[in-house]
């Protein structure tokens, strides 16, 4: 665990220079006609309600198929055969700097978040973006219901800033710039590349000045600059390609950050559009509900506060109202993914959706037994897959299984101890 990240980073770097160039050319070919005939790609979506999900309202008492719907699952009843409820799953060693630091590692599984010498590792969506991101206009889409925080981390452990304005995401995905804007963008990109060339050469001089002691840090700089240059080169090609047209109106943003559900729904509305046009294949959504009182009927107290309900029945009741509304929004996502048809089934059949939280019990900041609902992707669903509540399954076993389903060669990720969740099959 200690040495692995460094090695895998290096191996990736060796690979990246070559692999980025070749498929890139392929990606520039007009794909639409051939894409329709070929098998649609697999995609993945992660959505996390970072303030937890009240377990007793989610987890069914019975395991396997034929479980009795719980209040939250009731909201998803139309899609019962399209999702699996997972229990007894978590990332190991998540005791961190404070009760909410496991938010940083939900998609990475790095141990001891925020403790002394903690460094985050790559999140699964960014790992996927590195592997196959060149095939789409955007390697990944990182969204949040409010603010810039996300759960997506680059290989060097830097958080990718989330976008929380649906109108901006929509325009980035589907609205072409004016010819003037496009040529301006092209100029900026070319300029950017020549800047990258210059600073790369200057880093050599700097390396001579500082000597061998800090070679590793400078290597990191070189790599980052080189990747930036490659990214700009790819962008130049994409900038000149018209964006896909969709049959949807640009969304109007909900300005009020307290209107959590409306903001969440707007983001969820973008997901099927982005996926079906193959604009990206990896999406993360952080459903942030921190300080304020969500605009939901019957809710009068701040969300974070309610999550620390202290067994107060009034608070639990309000918390359930919020979370039930979140599940209704999730139901909306499932419905629209299912409604879109692709050559081999529905878009949902080709899209793995993992919804849940980094907290198993938010009241005590417990990070075991995470609430997780896993849908789509062509798996056999319709069951409550329960693992040992005392000795949890590593969530990364599911991640590896998802990576493989994406067609990515991987037999481990983060803290995985296996390559699949027993009982979860295609």
């Amino acid at each position: 665990m200690i040495t692995r990240p460094a090695i895998s980073r290096r191996t990736f770097l060796h690979g990246s220079g070559v692999s980025l160039a070749l498929p890139f050319l392929e990606a520039m070919m007009p794909r639409l006609s051939s894409a329709a005939a070929a098998t649609p790609p697999k995609r993945m979506v992660f959505a996390c309600a970072s303030l937890g999900i009240y377990g007793p309202s989610l987890f069914p008492k019975e395991t396997g198929r034929g479980y009795t719907l719980t209040p939250y699952l009731e909201a998803l009843k139309d899609h019962r055969d399209d999702f699996t409820v997972l229990s007894g799953v978590c990332h190991p060693d998540q005791a961190g700097a404070d009760g909410h630091t496991s938010e940083m590692t939900w998609l990475t599984s790095a141990r001891g978040p925020g403790m002394g010498g903690f460094r985050n590792t790559v999140s699964i969506d960014q790992f996927v973006a590195e592997k196959i991101g060149y095939e789409t206009r955007y390697p990944s889409l990182v969204l949040s219901s409010a603010g810039q925080s996300s759960q997506s981390y680059t290989r060097s452990g830097v958080m990718v800033q989330a976008q929380s304005k649906p109108s901006q995401v929509f325009s980035k995905l589907f609205l072409d710039g004016t010819p003037g804007e496009i040529s301006n963008q092209m100029r900026k990109l070319k300029e950017g590349r020549s800047i990258m060339d210059t600073v790369q050469a200057e880093a050599k001089r700097f390396e001579r000045r500082v000597g061998a002691a800090d070679k590793e840090k400078l290597d990191e700089y070189y790599t980052s600059v080189r990747e930036m240059e490659e990214r700009m080169l790819k962008s130049e090609a994409w900038v000149q390609k018209p964006k896909p047209k969709v049959d949807a109106k640009p969304p109007t943003d909900v300005e009020n950050e307290a209107d959590l559900i409306a903001r969440m729904k707007l983001l969820f509305d973008l997901i099927p559009l982005a996926l079906q046009t193959d604009s990206t294949r990896a999406i993360t959504v952080l459903v942030q509900g921190r300080g304020d009182v969500p605009l939901i009927n019957g809710v009068t107290m701040a969300h974070h506060n309610l999550s620390h309900h202290g067994q107060d029945p009034m608070k639990i009741e309000q918390l359930q109202r919020i979370e039930r509304a979140e599940f209704e929004a999730l139901n909306g996502l499932f419905t629209s993914l299912k409604a879109k048809k692709e050559s081999n089934g529905s878009l949902l059949d080709n899209t793995m959706v993992l919804f849940g939280s980094n907290l198993g019990n938010a009241n005590s900041h417990d990070w075991h037994n995470l609430p997780l609902v896993f849908a789509g992707g062509g798996f056999k669903h319709g069951q409550h897959l329960a693992f040992d509540a005392k000795n949890n399954q590593p969530m990364c076993n599911l991640f590896v299984q998802m990576l493989q389903r994406m067609g990515i060669e991987a037999d481990e990720f983060g803290s995985s101890s296996g390559t699949s969740l027993p009982g979860l099959v295609v």
């Binding site: 909410h100 600073v199 840090k217 701040a302 019990n361 005590s364 417990d366």
Partner: protein
Amino acid sequence: MQRLFAYLILGSTASAAPLPPVTPFLEQHCTECHDGDVKKGGLDLTSLSFKPEDRRNFDRWVKVYDRVSKGEMPPAKKERPEAGALQGFQAALKAPLSDHELAQQAKNGRTVLRRLNRTEYENTLHDLLGISLPLKHILPEDTPLHGFDTVAEGLRFSQLQIEKYLEAADAALDAAIVLSKRPVGINQRYSYKNEQGIRKNLDTPPGTLSDKTNPKSGHRVMFRENDKEVIMFTTGDYLVGLKQCRLPGPGNYRIKVSGNAFQSEGEPLTLMIYSNNYKQKRLLSYCELPADKPREFEFTTRLDGTEHIVINCDRVGRDKKGQNIYNVGAAEFQGTGLAMQWIEVEGPLSAEWPPVSLKKALGDVPLTELGDKQKKFRDGKQLGYELAPADVKLAIANGLNGFAARAFRRPLEQDEAAPYIALATQSVDAGSTFEDAMRVGLRAILTSPAFLLLEEHPGRLSDRALATRLAYFLTSSMPDDELMKVASAGQLSQPAVLKAQTERLLKGPKAATFVTNFVGQWLELRNIDATTPDTKLYPEYDMLLKLGMVSETEAFFNEMLTQNLPVANLIHSDFAMVNNRLAEHYELPGIAGEHFRRVSLPKDSVRGGVLTQASVLKVTANGTVTSPVIRGAWVMKHLLGQPPPPPPGNVAGIEPDTRGSTTIREQLAKHRDSESCASCHRQIDPPGFALESFDVIGGFRENYRSNEKGANVKRKLNGQNIWQYKEGLPVDASGELADGRKFQGITEFKKLLLDQQDQVMRALAGNLVTYGTGAGIQFADRDAIDAISKQAKADGSGLRSLVHAVVQSQLFLSK
């Protein structure tokens, strides 16, 4: 793939160093439990090799050293090692561990090559370019390590980071390169009588129906006016927003208000002044207004020019009977109001035009002034000037040479700026204007390693590297002209000069950023917004209290720093730094005004020191309940520098319960029953028990607040009965330290803690060194930290002396 295997094999075959001569000691005292059979706590000392180059192995041995040195191992029920044997063991283990790290430090330095964090980046660009545009939010969040975002190991590069540097540099240059006509500034006094919303409310006859079919829709007048003022019984944004004042553009503004509290029975009011652009409402400043007698209050602030100014006041609009102004109307209303005489706005304040930032970015280039009729526009603004370099390429060379030298914080190597000049020149050759070409060169400089990285070489720092380190330590920005001058003259490393420069920076205006950035991270004040107190349990919590909490702790640290007060004041002080709102919270009578000042505490006060400051008490609670474990762990980590190990993975936390039938102590008692839990919790919990006398917002309590069971509250809030919560079970703040000494509550606890003031000093020294050098404290650094603490102690134990001792230490003077 082959490379990968080669790497793995190399890694695993690195041979172990010989075991230090500690085996007899371990066999006599340790291996009964820590052998291959029993393997207590997962530790088998019989098979533990000695491989200091392996981080995990190294840390294991440090842990063995520490637990034996602290007397925690062997456990209390076992035979104690003899003093001589113990010393022998310590010496035998310490030397090889230290030597390993010292050799590494000699070769590579303690600190890894460190890049600017986003706060430093923003401040540096502000200084380089003479701008005040916020930039921090453009860059990705930095990852703090060892508690601070200055630690080099956490400050990494990625493609994303580079992308954002280009973006931030662009934004900064946009703000710096200003060629528009001088904006017609404003400097005007406004009366709220002329404010449209207020005017309409005053001029509409009371009772006028807004909805003819609804008899309840009668108009309510909520203001009164007389010849000198408007009295406001509401400060709803839609009514009192200052729409009369249209801001001409971005820049610094001076705002001045005159107002007083009205019908307040002698009580003052706090006025808050915001900017609002309908997307974001931002607090600019606040002030206390006395009863009946107008007060004038002035401040300057940066505004974007897209906002308008709004004043708010929390405590108006409700009378003693609890009636709302909406139900009474201004004429009969007996409750408190806000009397506003006027508000003045002046700005943008700029001595020079075009602003100095233009020259700082592009160099000293001749300008042609454009006449009014030459209508050239950029971004909707009419241009007032054109750049007119006589020789474009020469101007580029001069501009970039000068800028690079300042940006790199040192004289340039021969031709070092040449690549940037070439880049810009190519751009000119391709048809760009002088300005566009300069921007390409400037963006490259601002993305280059020489700008982003603090250049330090192993061994003792050069004078210039020292200047940079000192400047980022105490001002979170690049060295100023004087510091550069002293460093260039090769004088900075002389102890007396270094001391004088440290003093100068500490006295300067930017030292405030040191206080904010250091204290904000050391005491975790940056988490002040992480939780919002339960509004039912804590109805008295408001924004002014929250702002005041952070300001108090910063003011306290600043007072210790400027007055060179002994570090023991962190544990207990006979004074507090408060303003009106904090004083109300701490039940200290007779404190008026929003400014923070030093106040002597009554003899029997529970306050004094940082532990009992509301900020600390808030960041260690979750908004609803407190936990002695979390607070105890906080005290160990931040004040004593001994972070407890994280809880074992298989133990669930305590389920908070606010129903009023059980206390956290009762719940914890179950937790502490088992010996394996107790061994750590004996250490962790006691400080937390003492702090149980303080609620989640730092108020003193004798009973927990409950939302179900309990007696009615006798106290009042703003003259009204408290119905929101009940008096729950009584608080028990007594406890027993791990060494058996008992305490009854916070006051006795603080007295006991004063015995550990040397440890507090060492912990603070360690934090200052970590923050200032950008590297965590290693095992081999411990002696140096001890030496710093001893030096500070010899100089009277003052905080300022400690900062000087840090700056003069080998740790600070070497990479």
